[in-house]
Each structure stands twice: as C-alpha cells, then as structure tokens.
C-alpha cells in the first residue's frame, strides 16, 4: 500500500484512533537478556517500555517499529543460552536403571530443564499473541540451534507463526538495523550439526560416565565413593594432551653439552660470538676443538652482512588468538577472557568474539572504527597516525564466512578491571594490525678462528611502528661493535662452557588451546568449557599457570591406554568435528554421521567392559589404594 501511495498518511483511511488499533505483534528473541536489551534500545532509539516475564532474569522490552513499511509492536525478550536439552526417559534416566550399553540406542528427547521452565512460559505466552517471530540469537552454530529451540517452543503453541532470522556480528546501530532489513531463514544445517553433537555427547558421555563412576566407587570406596567420574569425548583428549606432556617431562633425560664462546671488547662494547656448531654432546670432541682454537686464537672477520629485518604486526584477531593472548598477556583464564569478551559484545563495545576469521571483509569500513579511537589519551595519537596513512591490515588466511575478526565497535573510556584489560587488548590489537611492521637493521658478523666458525648478531631498531601501541610484544635491539671484512683480532675471552638440556615446559592454558586447535578438539566456542570441565573434575589442575594432571585423570587415561583405546588421543573427536563441519556445509547427512559415531563408540564400549580391570589397576597405582573386589550382586560391567 505504501509503495503505491507513498505520501498517503497510514491512518488516514480509518476513523479508529491509533491507541485502540490492533497492531501486528512481532516477537523477537535474543540469546541473553543483555543482548535483548541492547538490541531493543538500538531499534527503539531508547523509546521502549520494560515489563517482567516469568523468568526474573529475562525481561521483556516493547516498542513500536516500522518493519518493511508496516508499523508493528516489537516485543523483545531472551533465553539464557540453550532452552532445551537432550535427555533419556524412564528407566534410562536412572543411573542404575539400565546397562550403560543400552544408552547407545535408548530413545532421547528434547526436554526443557526445570530452570528454563519460566523462560519457556514467557515465550509461549508472548508467541500466542504474535504473528511473527524473529530470532536474534548469536550467529554461530550453537546460536542457530538455540534459535530452533525457540522456534519449536513457540510454534507448539502457535503453529501459524512466521519465522525469520536476524544475522549480525555486532550489536551496533548499523549492524542491527541492517540485520532487520535483511532478515533470512534459520539455517537447518547448522541446527542439525549441533543436534548430532548434543545427542552424541549425551549418549557417549552418559554411558562412559555411568560405567566409570559406578564401577570405581565400588572398587575404591575410600577415595571415590562420592566422586563423579565424567567422560566427555572432548574432555578426554584435552586431558590427554596434559598427560602426554606430563609424561614427556617425567621420562625426559637431561644431557650435558659443551660449546665454545668468544667475546671481544672494543669501544666499551662487549661483542659475543656464537659458535657455528652451536653445541656438542661430547666433552672430548669439544675439548679437542677448544685446543685447536687456543693454539691459534686469531680471529678473522670473513663477512659482514647488514640487511633489513622486520617484526611482523599481528594478524586480525580471532577467538583462539584472543584466548591465547588473554591467557599469556593478561594472565586471565581463558573462560574468564571469553566471558568478559561476550559482555563487551552484548554491550556493543566489540564485535562478536567467537570467530575463526582473521581477514577483514572488504565491506567492513575500517577508517570510521579507527577514527572512534582517536579520542583516547593513550592510543588516540597512534590511531590518528593510522588514519592518516590509511588502515593497512595484515591479513590472515582463515575465514568462517560468518563473522569478521574481533574489533572494537564503539569507543569507551568508562571500563575498569578485566573488562578494561580485554577491551584495551582488542583495541590495541586492532590498531596494531592496521599499522605497520616494526623495522630494523640486522648485522651478522661471520668470524673464523683456527678453522672454527663463529658469528655475532647485532640489531638496530629503526621504526617501532605497531609496537608503539602493542605492549604485549617487545623487540629489543642488540649493540655490537663495528667490524669489517678481513679484520683480525685477538679475542678478549675464549671459553669452553657447558650446559644441560631441559625438558619441555608443562602446558599453559594457552598452549593447551593451541593443541586443541591444531587437532580440532572442540571449536573456538567450546575450548574454554572443556578445559574448565577437566579442572572441575580434578582431572588436572593449574600450578603456577601450568597444567599438572591429577591422580584420577592419570588413572583413567592410563587405564584406557592400557586397553589399547585411544580415548585420550584426539583422532576420534577430530573426526567428528570435521564431520560436523560437513553437516554445516550440507555435504554430509546428519543421520549418517550420528549412526557411524554411535557405532564406533559402542564397539569401543563393548570391548572396554571386559577389560575394566585395567582401569582398576591404573587407578590403584595413582590413588595408592588397593582395588576392592567387585561385589557379586552388582550388575555393573
């Protein structure tokens, strides 16, 4: 109507006053209350009313809006993450109600857990009076799945409800506005992938968890009577990495080595020359070469090379890098980093922090984003510089086709504590990756003494560039004396020094993330959760920021290892993760993947049962407790 008569006042035809006219109601549902509130504020430009729902954490925001030319009543509310869960029913629900093996085939249902019940009731009530539903959950796999849960609940009470999906990467005016103008359909493939994953997690997790827990509490009644020994197909490989490193350190044999070292003092500068042979693991061999040098210790410079050297600015920030940087540089745990980042996102300060992309998309205008930061007393000047030269992103190679790299979307100076630390990191990283590599001049001086090669390296830093804004990295110059080819001199010192090899370090949280990413365990969205889980279960613990396995963790992993099952190796899970990716892309059938995976784990389970004594033995070793015999009347395998 409006396109035909664009100037016609909408209410012109009817005599009914606007107040009593019944406007179409559109139900909008976001993933969290904060997101609902901020999206509603943006769309209503602050003119909204708030009322209560059944859940006191999930408010309802209402405002009028012109949607595709129609004035509608927007009703915006939220869930708190997943609304429904897969669960067993009847006897299968009870821990001792069935043989755990049955859990691979027992029927599963999506149910609403008790604490989500009030949210569900709000959705049902609001859906009844709405004619349209717009899903505003996070635009990732889990978010899509949550969206389908919302749709299921709402359409159950109102089958005629029209459903649309809003796609956005940041909660800013432009982005939210555009999302509403370009509503799409929810993505069935993403939803399927999460359903497959959740169903497998439930079946596999429940079967192994019940088996381990019920058996071991009887075998070790003193220590494990009240302990839940959970199993998860991501948890175990994650734990496996920690134990693998732990054992590598335990088995490590340090070795002594020897090397030659030359120094030369000139113009108050001590230049140190490093032996070309680095080090030798044979004392007499090193002594022999030391003798040769000592007999004729004249050093001759054979070559002096000076060439530019750069230190690269960082690539645009993706989730894994944010987690690693947060852990290493801000000394926060990864879960905390992501929690804070999500809060910054829901408040509109940064873009969506779950992304695999480290390439800025063409359509993202970087200059206005840099411009916003020029106001800051600390990095404002730097931002102005970037603006003047034009943003010059160092591009990475990865894109998830869903979200841009993590970047600031709004300037703020009102944050404090962890929020400020993470926001600063995002902003500084953003400005750094848009600026320029640090540049320097490296000098390599090659020297020969009695046939043995040595070299000295000097570095002069010419332009710090990105380092000015990026305190998380440093680059220090190294001064050496000036040398020319053909020059000869007597060294100030000529020494044979020794050292010892050392074991690799225990894993930090950041290293663990790097390993999980390398082997495809979990997704960038779930790394932190899996790590948290194994800490919670005391399978591993942090000591001085490094992971050490716990007794129970060692016992379980070693037990399965002794059976010959690679439960703690990444292969099984990595296979599933790549299958899930294919489901998302629509190239694999979710039912096929589900069937294959269930079969695989069921057969491992079946073969593991008769060998359960091996777990008892491994566990006994670490708990330093004698395994008790299993009582006869117990039906647990």
């Amino acid at each position: 109507l409006t396109s035909v008569f664009p100037y016609l006042p909408l209410r012109g035809f009817c005599d009914v006053p606007p107040k009593t006219q019944k406007m179409v109601r559109v139900l909008n549902v976001a993933e969290k209350n904060d997101a609902a509130k901020n999206i509603a504020e943006i769309l209503s430009r602050g003119h909204l009313t708030r009322r209560e729902g059944f859940s006191k954490y999930n408010k309802i925001y209402e405002f009028d809006h012109n949607l595709n030319g129609n004035n509608v009543k927007m009703v915006m509310t939220s869930v708190s993450g997943h609304l429904l869960n897969y669960a067993f029913s009847g006897a299968y629900k009870k821990w001792e109600g069935c043989n755990p093996l049955d859990l691979f085939s027992a029927p599963v249902f999506k149910v609403c857990p008790e604490d989500s019940e009030p949210i569900k009731r709000t959705l049902e009530r609001e859906a009844r009076s709405a004619s349209k539903l717009i899903i505003w959950t996070d635009c990732d796999r889990e978010g899509e799945n949550i969206g389908f849960e919302i749709i299921q609940v709402c359409q159950a009470v109102k089958p005629s409800l029209q459903v649309q999906r809003a796609k956005f990467s940041e909660i800013t005016f432009r982005s939210i506005q555009r999302a509403l103008e370009t509503l799409t359909r929810p993505d069935e493939n993403l939803n399927n992938a999460v359903n497959v994953r959740s169903e497998l997690d439930l079946r596999i997790g429940a079967a192994f968890t019940r088996f381990q827990t019920l058996r071991l509490k009887k075998i070790f009644p003193e220590t494990l009577a009240d302990t839940i020994l959970s199993y998860g197909s991501c948890q175990f490989p994650t734990l496996g990495f920690i134990i693998e490193r732990f054992k590598a350190i335990e088995n490590f044999i340090p070795e002594q080595f020897w090397k030659l070292k030359v120094t030369h003092n000139r113009d108050d500068i001590v230049t140190e020359f490093t032996w070309q042979r680095k080090r030798l693991f044979h004392k007499r061999a090193c002594e022999a070469l030391f003798d040769v040098c000592q007999e004729n210790p004249e050093a001759c410079i054979t070559k002096v090379t000076t060439k530019p050297k750069s230190k690269w600015r960082p690539q645009p920030l993706d989730t894994v890098e944010l987690e690693k940087l947060g852990s290493r540089k801000l000394r926060m745990n990864v879960k905390e980093v992501m929690k804070v980042a999500e809060k910054l996102y829901t408040n509109g300060f940064i873009s969506y922090p779950r992304t695999e992309t480290n390439i800025f998309p063409q359509e993202l205008e970087l200059a206005p984003l840099v411009e916003m930061q020029t106001a800051d007393p600390n990095w404002g000047g730097f931002a102005a510089g970037v603006l003047e030269r034009g943003p010059n992103p160092r591009q990475g190679k990865k894109t998830d086709q869903a979200h841009p790299p993590i970047h600031p979307t709004k300037y703020t100076s009102s944050l404090s504590g962890a929020e400020k630390a993470v926001y600063d990191l995002v902003v500084r990283h953003f400005l750094a990756c848009l600026s320029d590599d640090a540049r320097g001049m490296e000098t390599v001086v090659d020297m020969v003494m009695a046939g043995e090669g040595f070299h000295a390296n000097g570095l002069v830093i010419l332009e710090r560039n990105y380092l000015e804004v990026y305190p998380y990295e440093n680059w220090s110059g190294k001064v050496i004396a000036h040398y020319e080819q053909g020059q000869t001199f007597q060294p100030t010192t000529l020494e044979m020094v020794s050292g010892e090899t050392s074991a690799p370090p225990y894993l930090t949280e950041a290293d663990l993330i790097a390993l999980m990413e390398k082997h495809g365990i979990g997704t960038d969205a779930t790394h932190a959760e899996h790590i948290e889980k194994i800490k919670q279960r005391n399978y591993a613990g942090l000591e001085n920021n490094h992971f050490l396995p716990g007794k129970i963790g060692l016992g379980l992993v070693e037990g399965y290892d002794d059976m010959g099952f690679q439960m703690s190796k990444p292969n099984l899970r990595a296979e599933l993760e790549s299958d899930l990716k294919e489901i998302c892309e629509g190239t694999k059938d979710p039912q096929d993947v589900l069937r294959q995976q269930i079969e695989q784990y069921r057969s491992i389970f079946e073969e593991a049962m008769p060998q359960a004594l091996k777990i008892d033995a491994a566990m006994g070793k670490y708990l330093e407790e004698m395994p008790q015999a299993l009582p006869q009347d117990v039906t647990i395998p």
């Binding site: 990495f241 693998e244 490193r245 732990f246 590598a248 335990e250 490590f252 044999i253 340090p254 070795e255 002594q256 080595f257 070309q276 042979r277 680095k278 080090r279 030798l280 693991f281 044979h282 004392k283 007499r284 061999a285 002594e287 022999a288 070469l289 003798d291 040769v292 690693k324 852990s327 290493r328 010892e500 090899t501 690799p504 930090t508 950041a510 290293d511 993330i513 790097a514 390993l515 390398k518 613990g541 000591e543 050490l548 396995p549 716990g550 007794k551 060692l554 670490y622």
Partner: protein, 220 residues
C-alpha cells in the same frame, strides 16, 4: 699354496694386512665353498670376507701406537679401520632415541607462541658424527670435522672404512673430512644389534658425565 701370494698382494694394494693363518684359512674356505680356482674371483671373495670380519677378532694393527693417548699429533698413511658404532653428537641422544623409537613427539613443539617452531628449526646446527673406529687392536674415535656426506648414522656397525692421508688427531680423536675417509662397506654380524642406533643412544645416555636427576613425582 700358490694362491696366498696374489691374494695378499690384492689386499696389500688396498692397504689391508691380515694375519697369515686367517688368510690361508679364508682361502681354503672360499675354495671349498665355491670350488673355483679363478684368482680374481678368490681375491674378491677374500676381500668380501675381510669386509665382514670382526677386526678385533683378527687382532690386526695399523694405527701408530699410542694414537689414542696423544693430546695432539698427526698420523700419515692408509688405515683400513672398522667402524664399531656411529652417533650424531650435535643433537641430544634422548631426542634421537625418541625418533628412532618412533615416538610421536609432534605435540612437544606446539606452543602458544607462534614463532616457537621456526625458531627451533633455524637453530638446528650442522650434523657432527662421531665414529668409534678400530684397527683391530687400538680403539680411537673419529669426528666429522668437516661435512662428510659419505658417512651417515645408517652405516652398519662393523662397516670398514679407509682413512688416509695426513690426519689431525686430538685427544685420541681423528679429524675426519670427506677428503680423508672412504667407506669400503661390509659389517660385523655380532655388532649389528649390539651397536644399532637405539643401543648406541641408550649407551650414550647411560654413560653421561652427569647422572640423570632423580625427578620427584609431580601430580596433585
């Protein structure tokens, strides 16, 4: 036996000296084994037997006396020697052992700091092989002083080599280069397993100057 002379000449041309009784026993054995009288054939067969003999059992001797005790000396001539074992001393024996045992060490180099891997790759030094050599009586070591691509850790224990020219010797170690050593071949059955890479590396770890520290168990 008129065969002894041409065979000995054949060996002498290759700078090899063997005990009289070994030579005649060997010729007799070849004769009975192959029932051939062809001199070049027998010469070649005896040479092959020498390549596969254990020089320590032969008790031969060609290195100047006290070669292994001199702090600094040179030796000149042709020295057919037996390589008892070989190991790369530019790398820790433990790391090599893990490789030989096919242990998966890939994850040990993964770290959150991206440049970790490239750094270790760049820092890798040139190989330096250390050979345990014997002339049948004296045991010395030979160090790959300059790259000698004809040598490798895959050479069988007991391989015969010819060291020749004027060779620098320090602290009982011969300074070997591509120009002063040739691999002749052969092996010694008894040394094959005893001195294979795995056992050589284990032995190197066990005879370290430092005791492997007793590490406390660390888990919570």
């Amino acid at each position: 036996m008129q065969l002894v002379l041409p065979v000995r000449r054949y060996l002498t041309n290759r700078h090899i000296t063997v005990p009289e009784d070994w030579l005649s026993a060997c010729i007799n054995w070849v004769l009975s084994e192959y029932s051939q009288n062809n001199v070049p054939f027998i010469q070649e067969q005896v040479y092959q037997e020498w390549l596969h003999a254990d020089l320590t059992e032969l008790g031969t001797c060609c290195l100047p006396p006290q070669t292994q005790d001199q702090p600094s000396t040179t030796i000149t001539g042709y020295f057919p020697l037996q390589m008892n074992l070989v190991r790369d001393i530019s790398e820790p024996a433990y790391a090599q052992l893990l490789k030989v045992e096919d242990a998966d060490t890939e994850n040990m180099t993964v770290s959150a700091t991206q440049n970790h891997m490239t750094q270790t790759a760049r820092e890798k030094a040139d190989r330096m092989l250390m050979l345990e050599l014997t002339d049948g009586t004296t045991v010395v070591e030979g160090m790959e002083y300059r790259p000698a691509p004809n040598l490798s850790v895959d050479l069988s224990p007991g391989t015969k080599v010819l060291v020749y020219g004027t060779i620098k010797v320090r602290r009982g170690i011969l300074f070997l280069t591509q120009q002063n050593i040739t691999v002749l071949g052969g092996k010694v059955m008894d040394l094959l397993e005893k001195n294979d890479q795995r056992n050589t590396l284990i032995a190197a770890l066990n005879t370290q100057d430092t005791d492997p520290r007793e590490q406390p168990r660390r888990y919570n």
